[in-house]
């Protein structure tokens, strides 16, 4: 597998990977940044309006009380999981191909979790009381109910974000020091000097650093599995047909990693093209991500099948109705059919080596899968809620333009953060790539007779 094309020296690699930080801003970047900024402004306006007026601005109703907000929450959180999968699980499995892509995948995690965090807060209706989730000594002596899934959610998401942030920043320390030492610009020496916190590559520090980095990777690993399991408990512990199922935790985790890998692909293809990183983010990287998409896609498809099989075998009337009539044939059933098309049919394209290795095709398919995964969450949440156990309560859901605006606003905000990251942060971990380069060179030398 070609992880690094050619045999560059350490200095060449460093300059290639870091020079985008002090190179000229391209016009394309500026235009993209401006569009993302405008979209973020829309988000800001709509979120402020929601906080001032209330969530009556959204299409939510009873019984569909969760609707867009929780769909978007689950979608964004899920996207984050692939970043942690790459940076933590593949680290523990000593997969070298993670090296060049782990920094931007982990950044994707952070920014996606930030978007996700907005939704439960806005959905509270009175977001300024969010601290009621915490066990603080209030005069009324009312404490949170820790047997509810919502405090679990808060704990899981907060821990996930914090650990991901620490892991990401710690990994970036040697690179920030390299920027400090290498940049020709005075102000960058100061700014990155401060960000590098005085890192000087001391082996005395490194012996602690490696333990802590490995430890954070080890801690992030169970979080990949636990966070979306906890999110799925929000649904699984309810009595609603279509939600009340023990298959939910693994089903959600697989869906999360699946959608996350789609997002990794969506970001990776333009990054390697724009920055000309094809020598460190090679076709083999694309190939591997494609294979993982296929594998996790099949786990997701298997989970769909299990849900139907369990409903059919269980024979419970409500569950049967939701699975075989509510999902495929009621209002908003388009979400169900798009899910099936994108996640079951389109994913199969990744069986073909030519598809996996063609950046353009893989990129388009990754966006299709992202849409499919959003529709999956929408159909789980909205289509199940529309058809509860009591037919007199049945009610359709129609999103308002505020719902759509906030969804696209978070996509713009994500893009804004991401474009900033691409511009002002070492996108590929140069220190780790240099280490890999050294290892590869040594292996080449040993292979020679």
């Amino acid at each position: 597998m070609a992880l690094i094309v050619g045999q560059p020296t350490d200095a060449e690699l460093t300059d290639q990977l870091l020079s985008p930080l002090w190179g000229r801003k391209s016009r394309g970047w500026l235009i993209a940044y401006a569009i993302a900024g405008l979209g973020t402004l829309v988000l800001l306006v709509l979120a402020t309006w929601t906080v001032c007026v209330g969530i009556g601005l959204w299409g939510n109703n009873i019984p569909v009380a969760w609707a867009f907000a929780i769909t978007n929450f689950v979608w964004w959180i899920g996207i984050g999981h692939a970043g942690t999968f790459i940076s933590a699980i593949l680290l523990l499995f000593e997969q070298r191909w993670r090296t060049s892509i782990n920094r931007f995948a982990e950044a994707m995690t952070l920014f996606a979790v930030m978007q996700a965090g907005l939704f439960p807060i806005l959905h509270l209706g009175r977001p300024w009381f969010f601290y009621w989730l915490l066990p603080y000594p209030a005069t009324m002596q009312v404490w949170p109910n820790f047997k509810s899934a919502l405090p679990w959610d808060a704990a899981a998401v907060f821990t996930y974000f914090t650990i991901s942030l620490l892991f990401w920043y710690l990994g970036a320390l040697p690179d920030l020091a390299a920027v400090r030492d290498r940049t020709p610009k005075r102000w960058q020496k100061v700014v990155y000097g401060v960000l590098a916190l005085g890192w000087r590559g001391s082996v005395n520090h490194l012996r602690h650093y490696r333990i802590v980095y490995g430890l954070l990777g080890g801690l992030a690993t169970p979080l990949v599995l636990s966070v979306h399991s906890v999110v799925s408990s929000d649904f699984a512990i309810a009595q609603l047909s279509g939600w009340h199922s023990t298959i939910f935790p693994p089903y959600f985790v697989a869906g999360a990693i699946f959608s996350g890998f789609a997002m990794v692909l969506t970001l990776m293809v333009p990054i390697r093209r724009v920055f000309r990183f094809q020598n460190v983010i090679t076709d083999d990287h694309l190939d591997n991500v494609g294979k993982l998409l296929l594998a996790t896609g099949w786990v997701v498809d298997y989970a769909y099948f299990c849900e139907w099989a369990l409903a059919w075998y269980g024979g419970e009337k409500g569950e049967m109705y939701t699975m075989f009539h509510g999902l495929p044939f009621s209002e908003n059933a388009w979400a169900f059919w798009i899910t099936m098309f994108c996640n079951v049919v389109v994913t199969q394209a990744f069986w073909f080596r030519r598809v996996r290795r063609s950046a353009a095709i893989a990129w388009v398919l990754s966006i299709v899968i992202n849409i499919g995964m959003w529709c999956e969450r929408f159909s789980i949440i909205v289509l199940s809620l529309q058809r509860g156990h009591l037919p007199s309560m049945w009610h359709a859901y129609h999103p308002t333009f505020v719902d759509w605006g906030i969804l696209f606003g978070t996509i713009a905000f994500f893009a804004l953060l991401y474009l900033g990251f691409l511009r002002w942060f070492p996108v590929v971990p140069t220190s780790e790539v240099r280490e890999l380069n050294h290892t590869l060179a040594r292996e080449r030398a040993e292979a020679r007779p």
């Binding site: 109910n145 650990i163 390299a178 400090r180 430890l215 801690l219 636990s226």
Partner: protein, 178 residues
Amino acid sequence: MKRALGLMAEFGTPDEVTAAARTLRASGYRQLDAYVPYPVEGLDEALGFRRSWLNWGAGAAGAFGAAFAFWIQWITNHRLLPLNIGGRPSFAIAAFLIIVFETMVLFTGVAAFVLFFWTCRLPKLAHPLFRVEGFESASVDRFWLGVSADDDQFDVERTESELRRLGATRIEIARGVS
């Protein structure tokens, strides 16, 4: 003139710096450190560093976090405000375990991060080593070996010639006030 803190020698490859560290240590030097652009296998043993103790510190913090989370759920949901929801027990270990786990992970991770900076005495933006000429290469492609002036074996001329014999491409004196 500021006091000499020690000698800094630049090496071109990880193997050279590791070999040099091993030789110096064998000839009695104890106050050694190396500055490298990426972790070098075996260099910490060559310099005589022991394995980091931080995982134990972080583990202790994690155990405390788990106990704390369990205690807070027990005291609030069982002792202070027991709610009867559908006849379920107020002391529900299975339901509490999720937050126990998340808090344990959080405390372990944050403690590892904080302890790391505390043991390394970072952040330290101004350090005498940053004034050593050419030291910027330590974060890119050169491997520096430092011998402290506090070392019993240290003697500017003798140490310098030893370093040169070991293949140092460049030797600088680190000066500072500390």
